[in-house]
């Protein structure tokens, strides 16, 4: 029997919490069964909206989950010891984000039983094939990185074989950190490439460098900028809920600083990209940028929100050493960063489909159905449940453990 760590959430608090999320999870599972057994007509997607809320969600979640690979890269390869406090949580978060995304993708495709065809008949030119390969392999890597954490549960660590295995895994973690970094790098990029390569969709299409469109690089940069911010948010949230100081201030500070600088770089490049797109790429395809933003639902305000309000602003805040000391700022700014990245993924996914390419097609809006939201809720609750269980049973926060021992 696996027992919780003795200084974690007591059962009378934990059970109702988990029960609540389990109920939402059950609802999501029901919606999933509907989609899988009867078809995707339960969603509100249509022939103009082949990608709906799920793809948007997947992209966002994977971008936010980038904290996992980036932290591992910084800690194990660049030896940034400040991240030791958060690496456990980062790995679990990454695992949740990626496994959730893969499951939602499987619900999203019309014939999930054929998903393996991507490995069977891969189209080397397809960004989605690249995504699938990277995602699958990286999920494997994340699972491998998650195993040692599980084995650190005191009940499990009584078993010599598991203990030995954990020790051996720990020794090779640097290999997985490296491989994970490569894989993540490529699939964050190829997720961006999904849009940038669409030569038939002037709203999404971007200039190419070698074989990669600019969105390839922008997605990588935005993901590694948002990942640390998301880590801050989740750790702070976990601290708030558990009423324990889980992570040292230095770790937050380091994450905030790195998020800020990367975001600043991203905003700069994104601005350049946008200017090139408006003045060169789109007009060369016969579309003026003003057409893209003429509908109120996707007006220029969304461009402003994405780049300035939820981009430049939090970046400037986070690179300021004095402002980072303020605990409120360290919640608001990372939140803005995460929203900004979500807006970017939303725009790329939904605005590019709302806008017709054919001049006589109509502008179409899309709202997700209850079933789609249900599956979304299911994935969210899955994340909360896995994180809560990890928190309760596994030494996610080495800092917390030390404190208990002394």
């Amino acid at each position: 029997m696996i027992e919780p760590l003795d200084n974690r959430a007591p059962t009378r608090v934990f059970l109702p919490w988990i029960g609540f999320w389990m109920a939402i999870f059950a609802l999501g599972a029901y919606c999933t069964v509907l989609c899988l057994s009867q078809g995707l007509f339960h969603t509100n997607m249509n022939n103009r909206f082949g990608f709906g809320i799920w793809i948007f969600l997947d992209l966002t979640v994977i971008a936010l989950g980038a904290g996992a690979f980036f932290s591992a890269f910084l800690l194990y390869i660049l030896k940034k010891q400040a991240l030791k406090d958060v690496i456990g949580a980062a790995v679990v978060l990454g695992f949740i984000c990626y496994s959730g995304a893969v499951v939602v993708l499987a619900i999203d495709v019309g014939q999930p039983l054929r998903a393996w065809f991507t490995f069977w008949h891969p189209n080397a030119h397809s960004m989605l094939a690249e995504v699938t390969f990277c995602l699958t392999l990286y999920l494997l890597v994340l699972a491998i990185e998650y195993v040692p954490l599980i084995l650190k549960n005191p009940s499990l660590s009584k078993n010599v074989s598991l203990l030995v295995f954990e020790g051996q895994l720990h020794k090779v973690v640097v290999v997985f950190a490296g491989v994970g970094a490569i894989l993540s790098f490529f699939h964050q990029g190829s997720l961006g490439g999904l849009y940038g390569v669409m030569n038939g969709r002037p709203f999404a299409f971007r200039e190419h460098f070698f074989i990669w469109p600019s969105t390839f690089f922008l997605f990588i940069l935005s993901a590694i900028a948002a990942g640390p911010s998301f880590l801050i948010l989740i750790n702070k949230l976990a601290s708030k809920i558990s009423k324990k100081q889980l992570v040292r201030k230095e770790a937050y500070d380091f994450l905030g600083r790195i998020s800020g600088w990367l975001l600043l770089a991203y905003v700069g490049l994104k601005s350049v990209d946008t200017i090139v797109w408006i003045n060169h790429t789109a007009p060369a395809s016969g579309y003026s940028a003003s057409e893209f933003f003429k509908e109120a639902s996707f007006g220029t305000w969304i461009l402003f929100a994405e780049i300035i309000l939820f981009g430049l602003l939090p970046a400037l805040v986070l690179i300021n050493n004095r402002l980072r000391k303020n605990p409120l700022v360290m919640i608001v700014a990372p939140l803005l960063v995460c929203i900004g990245i979500a807006i970017n993924r939303y725009v790329m996914t939904l605005q590019s489909q709302s806008l017709p390419t054919l001049p006589f097609e109509e502008f179409v809006l899309y709202t997700p159905s209850l079933v789609e939201i249900g599956v979304f809720g299911g994935m969210l609750s899955y994340g909360v449940i896995v994180f809560s269980l990890s928190y309760r049973y596994l030494p996610l926060f080495p800092g917390l453990q030390q404190k208990a021992k002394t």
Binding site: L137, V141, K158, V160, V179, T406
Partner: protein, 213 residues
């Protein structure tokens, strides 16, 4: 995907794409396999079973730092290493004991022992005043007047708990020894090995001492 399929033809893209992913997959797989293989080579602590057998003396308290507390007349306690602790250190090359009259605090460093460039720090099992020190070679001890009686604490245990605790301690030691590439697998002959550092000289003893004490 493969030759023989309908209208298949290899392109450079296929080679780069598949080659890249297969390489990465191979790295992940190979690393995992090596790790699994290594994990199967479990090193048994020589004489571990005997060490457990010997530690069941009634009336003696064990501390998690591998020290024993024997009540002496006059309310004083004799502190010494337990059997496993003794085996771990074998015959120390050098030792530093607290001075008589010095105060020691439960959980704080009390004794430091050296063996082959590795140092072991022994924490005090109880708070009190040292009234006597003694011994030589591997047979050192402290006599302490505890601050409070009866002596109790969450890190102290009686005979009832000792067996299971000691088993896990030996497992822990096994795991540490196993996870190192010692290139040997020792059978547990059941014979007491009084000096582990001599038996397993290649192990990282500094690490073992910091983990065990």
């Amino acid at each position: 995907m493969l030759p023989g399929m309908y209208e298949f033809h290899f392109e450079l893209g296929h080679l780069i794409f598949l080659g890249g992913f297969m390489t990465i997959g191979a790295v992940i797989g190979a690393t995992l396999l090596i790790t699994l293989f290594r994990s199967t080579r479990i090193v048994t602590v020589p004489g571990g079973a005997t060490a457990i057998e010997k530690e069941s003396t009634a009336g003696v308290l064990h501390h998690v730092g591998h020290t024993l507390l024997r009540p002496l007349a006059g309310g004083t306690l004799k502190i010494s290493l337990d059997d496993l602790g003794t085996r771990l250190l074998g015959r120390p090359d050098r030792m530093r004991l607290p001075k008589i009259g010095q105060r020691i605090t439960e959980g704080a460093d009390a004794v430091k022992l050296w063996r082959k460039q590795s140092a072991a720090t022994i924490v005090a099992p109880v708070s009190g005043t040292v009234v006597e020190t003694g011994g030589h070679d591997d047979k050192w001890y402290l006599r302490v007047l505890p601050d409070a009686t009866p002596v109790e604490g969450e890190n102290l245990m009686g005979a009832a708990k000792v067996r299971s605790w000691l088993t896990s301690e030996i497992d822990k030691l096994q795991a540490i020894l196993s996870s190192e590439d010692l290139g040997l697998a020792m059978a547990d002959g059941g014979e007491p090995l009084p000096d582990l550092p001599s038996a397993v000289p290649d192990a990282d003893w500094q690490k073992i001492y910091s983990e065990m004490f």
